[in-house]
Symmetry: C2
Subunit: 171 residues, 2 copies
DNA sequence: TATTGTTATACTCTATAACTATA
DNA sequence: TATAGTTATAGAGTATAACAATA
């Protein structure tokens, strides 16, 4: 599906093939979508900070992740992640366990309350997106979903510049 | 997984018309896009915090906004916004002026440095999006841009539930 | 008096550096 | 010694409440 018949040596990863006004339109539309996305989290009844919300998502998708792994996912240092876990454990959102294999490590899991919040967050995001999708014609909606799915897959590909694996803390 | 084919021409009006698996796919794809979007800001050479980045965007798009307006856009209270402006003014990113019409008000503008950062942020976001778009086939890309533009417009419409005008501070 | 913004205080979030425990 | 995590300290970000200036 990944249509890449360009010679590997060509410049800028092929971004030059996309006209400026197209990138600008995409930026504007994505900006509105990002706002919609973020509001779904802000409107949760529990009123978690963005970083606590992000932490819940990371642990939900990486059950049993250790503290260093969480810090890496947050793009933060272990000390910050540790303090964050202090507060989230005290708030009853996560649990810290000692890893059986290596007792230096800490295994992180969601508490029942944390899992409930994650489920609710996902539900609200889907609902917010669905409300907008419902305003579109079925044809537009179908084209958006299909194209967006491809776009999302490409965003997750590690070989896309600016995707992951960058140490932005040293910037 | 019942694929509901609705008769075309029927008025779209409720989120219930969008099947759950469609909303789920959209959530997943948008999540990846949101990550791409956020990384563009994190990788700026200046290393601003998300809230400072957001403040720069708000002032850039609302030149001369007053402090209360900024606070509302940030979904924060004036006191928090005032402290934020203290630091950003000290960092040379924004300037505070007294409003000529009403001397109680404070008019906020970007400094040259703040404007430069905003331009760079926008450039990097467009570049990140363009790099992914360049990986798509021209047809998919076209369909995505067209459908995404419509989606973006609908996200910005005030009558879409969960759009704006919500006082999430009281939640 | 009502509105706009700032200051006092306290808590969360984050990084640097020093530390403890385990390997 | 090297690794995983915590604690000490300090500064940024935020809210509540009290305050000052202007309308």
């Amino acid at each position: 599906m990944t249509h890449r018949d360009r010679p590997p040596g060509e410049r800028a990863g092929g971004a030059a093939e996309v006209p400026g006004h197209v990138a600008e339109a995409a930026e504007r539309a994505l900006g509105a979508a990002v706002s919609l996305w973020n509001r779904a989290g802000q409107q949760l009844p529990a009123s978690l900070s963005p970083i606590q919300l992000q932490t819940i998502e990371i642990i939900a998708r990486n059950d049993g992740i250790n503290l260093g792994g969480l810090a890496a996912e947050l793009d933060a240092i272990p000390s910050s992640a540790s303090r964050l876990c202090d507060r989230m454990e005290a708030a009853g959102l996560i649990v810290r366990e000692s890893a059986p294999a290596d007792r230096r490590e800490v295994v992180l899991r969601l508490s029942d309350e944390g899992l409930r919040l994650f489920t609710e967050l996902s539900r609200r995001r889907q609902e917010a997106v669905a409300r907008v999708l419902a305003e579109m014609t079925p044809g537009s909606r179908r084209r958006l979903i299909d194209a967006l799915a491809e776009f999302g897959r490409l965003c997750e590909e590690p070989d896309v510049p600016g995707s992951r694996s960058l140490d932005s803390r040293s910037a």
